[in-house]
């Protein structure tokens, strides 16, 4: 049984912003490809990257690990990472590990 993670992208050159709409379950099976796909999209300094998690129904420590890695990489690129539209079960995992303080969540 394979449950795929889908990503839709929206690019806003005027505001130097990319939005990734993620749809799926973020466990260890899916995070590797997702991480690679987002890293391929990094732009020169000054860009913002929003991960819209409205359709993320599951996230665990593997998903959090990927997000920590992405944030560190984006900071190296002098960019900004925003995580948006978290549903309660997913937000609770951030709170439990106190990573809600590390990420910019809107």
């Amino acid at each position: 049984m394979e449950v795929k993670v889908k990503i839709e992208r929206k690019r806003d050159d005027a505001n130097k912003k990319k939005v990734f709409f993620i749809d799926g379950e973020l466990d260890v099976h899916h995070v590797k490809n997702l991480k690679a796909e987002i890293l391929e999209e990094l732009e020169p300094p000054g860009w913002s990257y929003e991960l819209n998690m409205d359709k993320v129904t599951y996230l665990d420590s593997s998903g959090l690990g990927m997000l920590v890695y992405l944030k560190k990489e984006i900071i190296k690129h002098e960019g900004r990472l925003i995580i948006s539209n978290l549903h309660e079960p997913v937000l609770n995992v951030f709170k439990l590990t106190k990573l809600d303080n590390f990420f910019e969540i809107s």
Binding site: M1, V28, T97
Partner: protein
């Protein structure tokens, strides 16, 4: 706690391929195994999260993503408790050596067992140093959140 389950309890045992692809299936089996209990969503999410974290540790750390390996899951539920046991092999593993993460130090890993211990009511590792076999028991008490209160949603 688990030896004398009432007649309406569920007891499920399965052998699982040591592949990360199976994790989403395991979550669906767990949801199906407790569907009749109409659990609060937060409790159901905790159970799925803890079980996935435990299975991820087996697949990633004990089996190093070798999908020729397999492990066993045994689920026992009643109105009172949800219990899941994970049976696997990890020679040399010692639960005393699992590091406790410093949450002020932001790292990409090492949070799985911390999460399990924080969301389950009872967590116990048993190891056999001679055979390398490990049994992990995780229990969630459901008593106060199920029954006739009508607070659950379909």
């Amino acid at each position: 706690m688990l030896d004398n389950l009432p007649a309406n309890s569920t007891h499920l045992k399965m052998q699982v391929q040591g592949s990360s692809e199976t994790l989403s299936l395991i979550r669906r089996v767990i949801a199906a195994s407790v569907q009749h209990l109409k659990l609060d969503n937060a409790i159901l999410n905790d159970i799925k999260l803890a079980t996935t974290e435990a299975c991820t540790n087996v697949i990633k750390h004990a089996y190093k993503f070798d999908d020729s390996m397999a492990f066993e899951l045994e689920i026992k539920t009643s109105q009172r408790v949800f219990a899941v046991e994970v049976f696997y092999e990890d020679p040399g593993f010692s639960p005393e050596n699992i590091p406790v993460p410093d949450l002020n130090e932001i790292k990409e890993g090492g949070l799985g067992v911390f999460i399990i211990r924080n969301i389950m009511d009872h967590v116990d590792y048993q190891t056999d140093q001679q055979t390398g076999k490990v049994k992990l028991l995780m229990v969630k008490i459901l008593d106060q959140l199920t029954g006739d209160g009508g607070q659950s949603e379909d």
